[in-house]
Amino acid sequence: MAADYRPMWTELGMDLKAHDALLDALGKAYQDVFLSQKVRPEGMSYLDFVMSEVHGLRIKELNDARATGRKVVGTFCVFVPEEIVLAADAICVGLCAGAEFGFEEAEKLLPRNTCGLIKSAFGFKLTKVCPYTQSSDMVVGETTCDGKKKAYEIFKDIQPNVYIMEIPQMKNTADRQLFASEYWRFKEAVEKLTGVTITAERLKKAIITVNNKRKALHRLALLRATDPAPISGLDSLLINQVAFYDDPVRFTGAINKICDELEGRIKQNSGVAPKHTPRVLISGCPMSVPNWKLPLVIETSGAVIVGEESCVGERGQRNLVDEKPHTIEGEMEALIDRYFKIDCAVFTPNQDRTDHIISMAKEYKADGVIHYALQFCSPYTVESYLVEKELAKHGIPMLKIETDYSMEDVGQLKTRIEAFIETFRQPAWSH
C-alpha cells in the first residue's frame, strides 16, 4: 500500500493490529485466488487496484466527502435502494460480511448456529476492522430473514444509527403497499440524515447513474454466454462484489472498458478456458468479499463459472428502473416496481427465482447448476429442494452445497464438485 492510512484508521476507531492481520490474510488470498489466474483480461488491473486500496484510498474518498458534509450509508442487502442514497448526495457502500473474522467475539452475542454472513458482520464490527462500517453515518438493516431481523436488535448496541427497513414476505397487493411505504419512509430518513431534499431532478439523475451501472453488469453477464468463456467466474464475481463499494460512475466506466476488451476476445474466439470446458451456473446465497471459496474450488476443478444467480450477481442487478417518469411520485413508483421484483428466498412462494435459474442456465449454456447455501440459512437451504426438483424437469443437473466461510470442508467440496463436473456429457458405459 503506497500511502500511510494508519492515522485515518486510528481516527475511525479501528484496531490497527487486528486490521493488519486481516489485510495480510486478504492480500495473500487475493494473490492466490486472483493474480494466479491465467489469461485475465487486462482491464482487471482496475479491480486489482481497487482491491489493493479497498481499505485505503476508497476509505479516504469516503471520509474526504464526509469532511465536506456528505454522508455515507452502509448496507447489507440489495433491497436498500442506492438511488435514494445517491439522490441525497450521500454515498452507498456494502458492508463487510464475507470472512470468518472475529467469530469468537460474535459468538458472545449470537448463537453459534447463526449464518456466517451475520456472524461476520458482527465480527468485523466487534473487532473494529471494517473501515466501511466505521465510516458509515447510517447503517441500514432489513428484515430479510429471522436471523438478520433479530440480530439488528443487538447490532444497535454496538453500531450508532442503525435504520431498519421492513421487507414483506409475500408479493400480494398489501405487501406491495407496505414495501412502497417503507421506501417513502427510507427517503425521508435519508433526507433527514443528509439535510438534502430529494427532488425529482436529483432522483432522476441517481436512477440514471445506477441504471448505467446495472447496464454495464448486464453487458458483462451476456458476454459470458460465449464459449469459450471470455472471463473467469472468479473475476466476474469480484466485479459484482466491487459494485457495492466503488464510486458508481467510475466503476461503470471501468466495467464497460472490460466489456470492450471481452468483445475483442470473443471476435478472436479466445477465452480463459478452452472451448467446450464444462460450464457451471452458481445459484443461492450472496458471496461478499472475501468469500471466494466455492468459486475457487469450482474453477480449479476443470470448470468455468458462467453466471451467478445471487444478490452479488444477477438477482441483485437484473432489471432497470424505468427512466420515463418525471415527478417524484412517478420515479418512486418506478423504483419500487424494480426492487419489488427481486426474487429473494425470503419470499413465499418464490417461483420467479426458479424460473430465473432455468432461464439463466439456458441462456449461458450451463451444463449444471451448483446451489450454494450458507449453513443455517433457512430460506435458501429449504428452497433448494424445490429448485432441484424443477431443474430436473428441465434436464438441468444440480449439486447442492451447504457450507460456511471456514476451510475445513474444502477437500470434501472438491470431491463432490469434481464428481459433479464429471457427470456432464458422460458417454454411456461400455463393458
Binding site: 451447504e402 470434501q412 463393458h431
Partner: protein, 251 residues
C-alpha cells in the same frame, strides 16, 4: 495392455491391476501417517502401461506421480459396473465418508450424495463403537446378529455416541443389543442418503463396511431389493480408476 488403479483412502490404500479386461492383482494396505511412502511401496515391482488415482489423497498422489485422477464417485460407479453390469445404485461406506450413487440405464452417474465434514456413520465410526464394546470388527458384525432386540442409539456424533454406548452398558443393557443398535443407526443414516437418490432395483454395497454381515442383512431387509457385494468390496474404487486408464489407453 495393463492398467493400474490406486485408491488413496483416509484409512486404507487400495491397488488394482487390470490386464485385457481382467482383474490380475489387487492389494489393500493401511494408509498410516505417510500415505505416499505406502503408495510407493505398493507400486514397487508392479508393471503397468497406465496409472490412474482416486480417493481422498488423489491430488497429493498426482503431485508425486504425475498421473490422471478421477473422483471417487466416478471410480465407484465404474468399479461397481465391472463387478455387476446390472448395477443400479451403489452404497460405499468407507473409512471417513459415506457415498451413495445412482446410475442410469446406460451406466452414467445420474445422482450422488456424500456426507459432509464429520465421520458420523462411516467405517471409522463403526470401528470406534466396536472398540468401545471391546469387539474386533469381525466379531462385531457377527454378535450383532445374535441380539434379541436393538438398543436405540440416538447420537450420530462419534464422540457423543461413544459415551452413549458406555452409559447404556452401565445401565445394564446387553452388549449384543447395543452392537445391533449401532448397526441400525449406521444403516439408517445410509438409508436416508439412499432415499435421496429415488428408486432403484438393486444395490452394490462397497467399502470395508460391506464385509459386515449384519449391515448387509439390515440393508437387505429394509430395502427389499438384491444387495450385491463384490468378493473384495474394498477395491471397487481402485478397479474403477484402473478402468479409466483402460479407456484412455484405448482412445
Amino acid at each position: 495392455m495393463v492398467s493400474l488403479g490406486i485408491d488413496i483412502g483416509s484409512r486404507t490404500i487400495k491397488v488394482a491391476v487390470l490386464e485385457d479386461g481382467h482383474l490380475k492383482f489387487s492389494h489393500v494396505s493401511d494408509s498410516s501417517y505417510d500415505p505416499m511412502a505406502i503408495a510407493h511401496k505398493l507400486l514397487e515391482g508392479l508393471e503397468y502401461d497406465s496409472i490412474t488415482a482416486t480417493g481422498y489423497g488423489r491430488h497429493n498422489f498426482k503431485a508425486h506421480f504425475d498421473c490422471p485422477v478421477i473422483s471417487e464417485i466416478k471410480a465407484f460407479g465404474q468399479g461397481a459396473l465391472f463387478f455387476f453390469p446390472e448395477t443400479a445404485a451403489i452404497l460405499d461406506i468407507g473409512g471417513q465418508d459415506t457415498k451413495t450413487i445412482l446410475l442410469d440405464a446406460s451406466g452414467r452417474v445420474s445422482k450422488f450424495e456424500m456426507n459432509d465434514r464429520c465421520a458420523a456413520g462411516t467405517g471409522r465410526f463403526m470401528e470406534i463403537m466396536a472398540n468401545a464394546l471391546h469387539y474386533t470388527m469381525t466379531e462385531f458384525g457377527k454378535v450383532a446378529r445374535t441380539a434379541k432386540s436393538a438398543e436405540k442409539i440416538s447420537s450420530m456424533c462419534t464422540v457423543f455416541a461413544e459415551s452413549e454406548v458406555v452409559s447404556l452398558i452401565n445401565s445394564g443393557a446387553d452388549r449384543e443389543g447395543v452392537a445391533l443398535g449401532i448397526h441400525e443407526a449406521i444403516a439408517s443414516r445410509a438409508l436416508t442418503m439412499l432415499g435421496k437418490l429415488g428408486d432403484f432395483k438393486n444395490l452394490v454395497f462397497a467399502g470395508g463396511v460391506a464385509y459386515n454381515p449384519c449391515m448387509r442383512q439390515i440393508l437387505a431387509e429394509r430395502l427389499g431389493i438384491p444387495i450385491l457385494v463384490p468378493v473384495d468390496p474394498q477395491i471397487v474404487g481402485a478397479v474403477g480408476a484402473a478402468l479409466e486408464g483402460v479407456g484412455r489407453l484405448a482412445s
